[in-house]
Amino acid sequence: MKKTIFYLLFFINYFVFSQQQLNFGFAESPQTLLLNPGAETNFNYHYGLPFLSNLNFDAGSTSFNLGDLFLDDGISFTDKLKSVVELSDENDFFNINVRNDILFGGFRLDEKSYVSFGFYQELDFIFYMPNDILELGLYGNATSFNRNFSFSHLRFKATTTGVLHAGVSKKINKRLNIGARAKIYSSSANVETNNNSGTLTTFNNPQNIIRQTINNLDVDVKSAGLFNSRGVFLDNPRDIYSNTFLGGNFGLGFDVGFTYHFTPDLELTASAIDIGFIRYKKDTRNFKAKGNFVFDGINFEFDPNNPRDYWDELEDEFDEKVPTEENQNAYTSLRPLRLNVALKYGFGEIRPKSCYTGTRKVYHSNSIGFQLHSVSRPGDSQYALTSFFENSFSENFHLKFTHTFNNYSDAIFGAALAFQWRTLNFVGVVDNISQAANLETADTFAFSLGINFVIK
């Protein structure tokens, strides 16, 4: 059962690729506050439907799709994996981000300030294809003379976090709205490695036909929360997820953002999300290996007066030259910083709408714009550039159509819908619509929804 759930989660996580940035600046919904604490709000109170106020799933791969690995075509998984590895290089990656609000609410502090707060859980995972290591494991080294199998390809990071947050969005003047959000992170599990180096090489050598060398090895894998205090590996997701609320590995962070109107028609919004860190010191377990080694096999001396155990000597020499270490040292991990910028131009019919102050303001029926999203990763940062067209059928019904190109694809078409019925506010996003009916061939896919109750 556990295995089934794991595969199901992996499956879902993989191809439900939520473009969180599509919600960015959309329809003045409460969710936009989590993407931009400086977003403008037009309500006095809101509270989210618990667990459904903001669901975000995010996954994608730059080198393969689900069908490449899981298509029911009679080909073994191992052969499929070989094909994927063949098509990949060390810069390819797949990543998963799952986020769900447990609690989300807000209230107007005064005419200019809106306070929001809540708690959400997040699973964030990125794995770069360690092609050399995978090929070594799939094929061995017999056919790869003189090839340097690089350990630098080993890069991944996975974190489960609970985030307690509170923020304020404040109107400075008619043009500018700013905001900030403080966050307390509580991570239940983390494993990460980056900036590794070293090579394993097999080559011809006069000493003994072939020689194997480990050069400049420097591998460092850090983890927390994966083993309990007795050193037992926690393979049950419940053990990890149940610990995200004040679980013991704490961190601090903040978000900042603003909305600026150059003119009534032209709006610039920007935010920086998760400027922060987590300090891991509970249930940490780290592994390090460093050194150089040359292996020519066992060299017999045939000296009966000085018998030697060559194998023991080799093991000792290896331990001396490539020392490995397991420790429980505390470490600090930076949060993946997300940046959002959007420029929006409104046009078309000008309509009035009611404000939280009881007054009226106007809005355009249509708008177009661009938005840029980036997230820092152990490798290079990932970017997504989205162009969009928004149409407001009425004050309470909004549609958004997007075209995005990012690390996964240059033709991702998406749509977002937001409507308000009485106090019910709904936002839904589907991205990569063109591949929605054939997800096994999709590089990415997006899905998110949020259900909140807003009171003007």
């Binding site: 899981f70 769900n100 096999g297």
Partner: protein, 177 residues
């Protein structure tokens, strides 16, 4: 966990119609690969064939080492076949035979790889052995290696004449997971 299951259910409902062509059964990585490692080597010179203390010629030399690589679980559980390559450069004007003997922890032989006679002054002797685990399962119990070198003609070697016998070897392991 309930929350995750809730998310799972919601999204699974959405995706239900989109995953018919996929299967998540048999997700096992079972590579079959070949790995090579340097095995044993030596270069033995004329003085090793003469006991200067007792003034006696030596016609047989041997050396032993512990060798626990085969008993490593990843090897023991997955090894199908091993192939050993050896090369010899014999500068002596004698015929030699060499053998690599594998022993378990009780010094019981688990495998033996023996050469044909290496002819006097033969500098390019090569010998390859194949061992299949299905035919020789005891090989997996190997814990020691013994290398024996025997001079076939019982005529003493001149300890003052510079000569050598050199052996190099490597092993190729075929593993299936």
């Amino acid at each position: 966990m309930k929350r995750i299951l809730l998310l799972t259910t919601i999204v699974a409902l959405f995706l239900n119609s989109c995953q018919n062509n996929l299967t998540f059964d048999n997700i096992e990585i079972k590579p079959q690969f070949r790995s090579i490692i340097p095995l044993v080597s030596f270069k033995i010179e004329q003085d090793k064939f003469y006991d200067s203390l007792n003034n006696l010629p030596i016609f047989f030399v041997t050396d032993t080492t512990r060798f626990s690589l085969i008993s490593e679980p990843i090897i023991r559980d997955n090894l199908d076949r091993i192939r050993i390559f050896s090369e010899v450069n014999n500068q002596f004007d004698r015929q030699f035979i060499y053998e690599l003997v594998c022993l378990d922890e009780n010094n019981i032989e688990t495998a033996k790889f023996q050469s044909f006679p290496v002819q006097p002054n033969q500098s390019d002797y090569k010998r390859t052995w194949d061992l299949f685990i299905t035919d020789n399962p005891n090989f997996l119990n190997t814990e020691k290696l013994v290398l024996n070198l025997t001079i076939m003609q019982p005529t003493p070697i001149n300890p003052n004449e510079e000569q050598f016998f050199e052996l190099k070897s490597y092993a190729e392991a075929y593993l299936s997971f």
